[in-house]
């Protein structure tokens, strides 16, 4: 029996996937598929790597890894600089970022940010988005103060009054502060202001054009199996939470469960199937980045993404 097991192992194709962060509910489809052995069924031996300071897209572009979770605002400039990266699925259909603040600060809409301090990671994209939001809502972007984020624990920043608002992900930080820690927080969700700012894919799953060309069957197997995992996560959020907790027991279980439930709906908010990308979203975002002078060079947007490896059924 052990002989056949060894033989089976030998036939599996090794695949490396680099996360964009520590394991979290954005990755639960991946972990669910892993836990259920679906990758082995598809002939894959999947290794998951946490990135720390390494960028998954660099690893994919240089062939060090096969897949990476990354974001559109990283993928496009990297492509413009010549990196071989292609998005094969979006993890969440819409951008679920938002600006989080304590309810006492009364930040209900973008123009309320006037005179407030935004805790900034220091990227150009942040400045551009905040300014666009405030200006679009009739405020003066110049009145928003940008102050550096000292800690990625927003509870400290907000309660110690180091800043008034920060850019967070609803599926994780908002749930943590609002539902788990019971802080009275407001969110200003980007998806409510898509008339002012573009939507974009964050996070997404990327591979390289080389991989697509050389081993399309592996890409196909991985993406469709991952889609199966996310499909199951949408069906059974508590199984998704269990899978994630098993893989990363350091996580806070309450947060993971609430987040999994929240995301079950958001993975594919409007379409039925997980992962599908829309040309318009990519084009608009690329154009906006170029206008804001965040993107220099040509990322060849139409080659930057594909839906072709997602299951047909959708």
């Amino acid at each position: 029996a052990s002989d056949t097991a060894a033989a089976d192992d030998a036939e599996l194709t090794p695949v490396t996937v680099v996360l964009d962060w520590t394991p979290n509910t954005n990755h639960s489809g991946l972990y669910l598929a892993l836990e259920n052995g679906w990758y082995e069924e598809a002939g894959l031996d999947v290794t998951v790597l946490e990135p720390g300071e390494t960028s998954g897209s660099q690893l994919v572009a240089t062939g060090q890894a096969d897949f990476a979770y990354t974001v559109a605002e990283g993928l496009l400039p990297a492509r413009a600089a010549g990196a071989d990266l292609v998005s094969v699925a979006t993890v969440i259909e819409h951008n679920t970022s938002s600006l989080l603040s304590l309810a006492t600060d009364g930040i209900e809409r973008p123009r309320d940010l006037e005179g407030k301090r935004y805790g900034s990671y220091g990227s150009q994209l942040e400045t551009a988005i905040i300014s666009a939001l405030v200006a679009c809502d009739g405020g003066d972007p110049a009145l928003v103060e940008h102050t550096p984020l000292v800690s990625d624990d927003f509870r400290i920043g907000l309660t110690e009054d180091q800043f008034d608002t920060a850019w967070v992900f609803d599926a994780w930080d908002t749930i943590r502060l609002g539902s788990v820690d019971g802080l009275d927080v407001n969110t200003l969700a980007f998806r409510d202001w898509f008339e002012c700012i573009p939507d974009w894919y964050t996070p997404l799953l990327a591979t390289s054009a080389t991989a697509i060309e050389d081993t399309p069957e592996v890409v196909e197997a991985f993406v469709s199996t991952t889609a199966r995992g996310y499909g199951e996560a949408m069906e059974d959020p508590s199984a998704a939470a269990d899978a994630l907790m098993a893989a990363a027991p350091e996580l806070d279980e309450e947060l993971v469960r609430l987040s999994a439930e929240w995301l079950a709906v958001e993975y594919a908010a409007s379409s039925a199937a997980w992962g599908v990308q829309d040309a318009a979203v990519w084009d608009e975002f690329a154009t906006w980045l170029a206008e804001e002078a965040i993107l220099e060079g040509d990322p060849r947007v139409d080659e930057a993404w594909t839906n072709e490896f997602l299951p047909e059924s959708s």
Partner: protein, 257 residues
Amino acid sequence: MSTRARAALVSLTTVAVLVAAWETAVRVGDVAPFILPAPSQVLVTAVEQASLLGPHVATTSLEAVLGLALGAVVGWLLAVLTATVPVTGHAAHPVVLLSQTVPTIVLAPLMTLWAGFGLTSKVILVALTVFFPVLIAASAAIRDVDAEHADMVAGLGGTRRHQLWLVRLPASVPGALAGLRIAATYAIGAAVVSEYLAGQSGLGVYIQRSRKAYAVDQIFVGIALIAILSGLMVLAIVALRRSLTPWQAAMAAASTP
């Protein structure tokens, strides 16, 4: 009571006092647990997660010990090489400086490019941190050697190699050990940082996951473990020093009022 026992007692007392003060501060003052959890809570978490922590601690310790050994050997050999063939020292200079100033964030991707994600890249990163204090301290000690001793060897027909072997190297041992003591303090921390690189296990991964999950008590468990492991490394080096410099133990200056 021996001097060493007294020293240990004083150190432990400090730790106890600090922990007590911390506990009091958290309980009496109203420090939010997400800013500073109480040590008792940290301890509870540590006990709860003991089985989870085991493998992380093992990974980090292995990386640190291997990296420290590699770095110490490389640093000392480089110091010796520099002393023997000064031109190699001058040539290595800028590279050594770069190795210490290029941030890990930049080094990390390059490192994974040719050393992969496994143990190797982490051991190399630890060694990269560790070799430098050893190199500098040993070099200084080799350079500052007593001319009297070097001349004695030369006067007996000894070559430069004999001078190096009989005088410069032994004379550099206390200095190199001071460097190694610095290095040992950094080793665990360097291993933790190297795990940020791209890892699957280790205290770096544990802390990173805890941070992202807002589990502050777990972060403090991680820090406490880093400090304890570092302390053990340092104690090992101190013991090494005792056994490598027996003549110093046998020397003691008089102090008279």
